[in-house]
């Protein structure tokens, strides 16, 4: 197995290559506005650093969010195009699961905890995990202050927790998910038979769109309405 993993659902544009024994190379750059510029060069760099070629890839794993939509789509559509052209499967991983996996790998959490990323508009994307690292609630999007006390009181990882440190009592690292964690999580599931998600975005919100109210009359005092 040679699995290419990446995620663009947070400010971290992160890429890693994993054969089923471990991570061969990885690269992470944090820039919330340049996912579209950084991802493809990052993929080329990681392949080169590992001395492998795209033709050797057997699987692609991509973070499917939740995360800000514009950046999120960069990762997913890149994965779909790569998978289509190379004829390899594309697996989806919840970005919060990758963040949670990184936290347990780094030892910043041991018991139950919550992972949260910035959803903008004063909200966070979040999920809750048990002491074995299994997701037990979420992903969801809410205002940090409106989360249940027992969620907010848990150790909390991710930039969403750091941003609302006054709501989350016990904020811990890491700030962002990384593709090395995402790759390791995906390989564990693929080898262990746990199953992964479809490569489709977890938007969690409907698109903002307002139906315009009838057309605006230009003559003052006109009757309005339509012809």
């Amino acid at each position: 197995m040679l699995l290419l993993a990446f995620d663009t659902a947070t400010p971290a544009v992160t890429v890693a290559l994993h054969d089923d024994s471990g991570v061969l190379a990885d690269s992470t750059r944090v820039d919330a506005r340049r996912q579209g510029e950084l991802l493809a060069p990052g993929i080329v760099d990681v392949l080169r650093a590992a001395g492998r070629t795209r033709a050797e890839l057997t699987d692609i794993a991509v973070g499917v969010g939740p995360g800000p939509y514009t950046g999120l789509r960069v990762g997913i559509v890149t994965a779909l195009a790569l998978g289509d052209a190379l004829g390899v499967p594309v697996h989806g991983v919840c970005t919060l699961d990758a963040l949670a996996y990184a936290a347990r790998r780094d030892g910043t959490v041991t018991g139950p905890f919550v992972a949260a990323t910035d959803a903008r508009r004063k909200e966070v994307y979040w999920a809750r995990y048990d002491e074995a690292g299994a997701r037990v609630e979420g992903p969801a999007v809410d205002r940090a202050g409106e989360l249940a006390e027992e969620v907010r009181g848990l150790p909390a990882v991710g930039a969403g927790a750091a941003l609302y440190a006054s709501e989350f009592g016990d904020v811990r690292l890491p700030e962002h998910p990384d593709a090395a964690a995402l790759a390791a999580f995906a390989v564990e599931r693929l080898v262990g038979g746990g199953g992964l998600l479809a490569a489709e975005p977890l938007y969690l919100r409907r698109p903002d769109a307002q139906v315009p109210v009838g057309y605006k009359v230009v003559t003052p005092g006109g009757p309005g309405g339509r012809a």
């Binding site: 340049r34 579209g36 510029e37 950084l38 991802l39 493809a40 060069p41 993929i43 080329v44 795209r54 939509y69 514009t70 789509r73 960069v74 990762g75 997913i76 559509v77 890149t78 994965a79 779909l80 195009a81 790569l82 289509d84 052209a85 190379l86 975005p201 938007y203 698109p207 903002d208 769109a209 307002q210 139906v211 315009p212 057309y215 009359v217 230009v218 003559t219 006109g222 009757p223 309405g225 339509r226 012809a227």
Partner: protein
């Protein structure tokens, strides 16, 4: 010819996911998935709805284009993509997909200008672009007159709209008349039943001291709205066909008059038309009439290639390859305000 480059073009600047495949100047496939129906009830394109639709349509539309062209992914020599101008989030889906295909196939990437693509697409129908030529580019987002010495590297704007684009005027007047979205095709149809000299609507920026190659359609739209509202207030029925025909005449009269003058003043013998509004039947007829009278050769692609599509992007990409232009890097951004003077994003 089999030795000409086989180019896949990706277009996602607005609400159409367009995938085209060309070999040199030969069109092999033009697959389009449109989200226009999802936008119609909002009376205009909703960017987030368009971006979501592009993501879903991308791979299936690429597959459809390959099947239509009877080629495989591995036959592709280069990937071209609209890198701007357009809706930022929508463009980004196409640019990221193009990079994914370019990386996977290890083929060069060309990030090209949407407006230059609208001009270049005519190569697929009428052969190599005559250069220099004049281009009248009229769509939902743009109305410009361009002098084109080299479509891949030297495009010079002579003038453009100072307010609404021509297509925008069609869309807004259609709303005034309660005809739905997009307005261009409906007004074109209604106008055929109407009298184009029934009402004299103003011709913007046609005074002796006005900028000779700039356009203005906002006053025209307001004037149509006033006229219609006055009839409604008087309790009269609005003669929709006559209003549509008279409005349309005002737009195409100004467009063609200025285009011919631009050709004459620059000593250019070929006028190209492109963009969604050049699908308009009256614009095509009047431009032909006036070009014939002035001894100018008019070139307009068939209506299906005037609106946004992937074939036009592939056409410009193929021209970049044919002229040995260096490919774009994998770092090119999606540039929502890419200037018309930049035919290709390099890095």
């Amino acid at each position: 010819m089999a030795d000409e480059p086989l180019v896949l073009g990706i277009e996602t600047s607005c609400d159409e996911t367009g995938i085209g495949i060309v070999r040199g100047t030969t069109l092999l496939a033009d697959a389009v998935a449109s989200s226009v129906d999802e936008h119609a009830r909002f009376g205009g394109v909703v960017p987030e709805v368009a971006s979501r639709a592009h993501l879903e349509a991308m791979v299936p539309t690429v597959r459809r284009a390959l099947a239509d062209a009877g080629v495989t992914m591995h036959d592709i020599d280069a990937i071209a993509v609209t890198s701007g101008p357009g809706l930022a989030g929508a463009l980004l889906v196409g640019v990221a997909a193009a990079k994914g295909y370019a990386v996977a196939l290890d083929k060069p990437l060309y990030g090209v200008n949407h407006l230059a693509s609208h001009v270049c697409v005519d190569q697929l129908e009428h052969g190599k672009l005559p250069e220099p030529c004049m281009a009248l580019l009229v769509s939902g987002g743009h109305s410009s007159l361009l002098l084109v010495p080299d479509i891949t590297a030297d495009v010079r704007p002579l003038g453009s709209t100072i307010d609404d684009a021509a297509g925008e005027a069609f869309d807004k007047v259609a709303r005034v008349l309660g005809l739905g979205f997009p307005g261009g095709p409906v007004i074109d149809r209604w106008a055929r039943e109407g009298d184009r000299s029934a009402i004299v609507f103003p011709r913007g920026l046609t005074g002796p001291r006005d900028a000779p190659f700039d356009f203005s359609f906002s006053g025209l739209k307001t004037s149509v709205a006033r006229w219609v509202e006055a009839r409604q207030r008087a309790g009269e029925t609005v003669p929709v066909a006559d209003v549509a025909a008279s409005f349309q005449e005002a737009v195409v009269d100004v467009l063609t008059r200025k285009a011919i003058r631009a050709c004459k003043e620059n000593g250019v013998e070929h006028l190209m038309m492109g963009g969604g509004v050049s699908a308009n039947s009256r614009l095509r007829a009047l431009a032909q009439e006036r070009c014939d009278a002035a001894g100018i050769v008019l070139r307009v692609p068939r209506p299906g290639l005037c609106t946004d599509n992937g074939a036009m992007v592939a056409a410009l990409g193929a021209e970049m390859v044919a002229r040995d232009r260096a490919p774009s890097t994998l770092s090119i951004p999606a540039d929502s305000s890419m200037p018309v003077t930049v035919s290709q994003a390099l890095s």
